[in-house]
Symmetry: C2
Amino acid sequence: MNPSLSALCGELERVWHDTIPLTRALEIKVRSFDGKSLEVAAGLAPNINLHGTAFAGSLYAISALCGWSMVHLQLAMRELHGSIVLAEGHIRYLKPVAEDIVAVCRFGEQAAVFDQLQETGKARFPLTTQIQAKGEDAAMFEGEFGVKLKP
Amino acid sequence: MNPSLSALCGELERVWHDTIPLTRALEIKVRSFDGKSLEVAAGLAPNINLHGTAFAGSLYAISALCGWSMVHLQLAMRELHGSIVLAEGHIRYLKPVAEDIVAVCRFGEQAAVFDQLQETGKARFPLTTQIQAKGEDAAMFEGEFGVKLKP
């Protein structure tokens, strides 16, 4: 990973684990970030359910954190500071996940959303996050993240 | 609580905590169940976020568990045994939750769904779960729970 992006990801993990206790139970970690694509991962064991596959609540929480973190990183890369909240989330579970969980979020241009953010101080970023299992789509998350810039 | 419903809820909590490790981190408990309405609760502290309010992932996981548990209890009351999985979930976050989290799921008749379950061995139960904060709606969850009866 690029050293400055790697530093941002280290700071992100500290924010997770210091301020959101559930992230420690999820055992979520950043796997990679190249400025456009963020991969986060978590072991199956702490997130297992009674079927021996990943708990639906864990898959959602990991997907939502991946999206939240993408917005956090995009702001940090632009040296912007804001409050980010999830306004709405939707997830479809397509296949059981019987392996370690990897969630991927890709960030498009969203230039119009950044323009609005700079002009009005607030905006909503729609993002999708995918989890695959055995190479196929297993969970598809869509979220709307509201951002309010801090003065 | 009616003693036989209380026993079912005790068994439900054991299933949660023995088979889904994340439920221990959520510190989720059954608060009441009267056969039609299920209330589950969790403290704010283990579920807090960096804003000092409930983490969106916790609110979803608690709502989804409340819905899953309602289906589990409805089957148990009818002495049916089945596998229950969440197929799809949607949540809207309306207000921050800065207090202990209470999720409520109410079960309507769903007679047609039970008929289909008995006839075909599988069916989908749509359920909604609500979380209030300071007496107002704070999170509204809608989920589709798929059930397959065990022979």
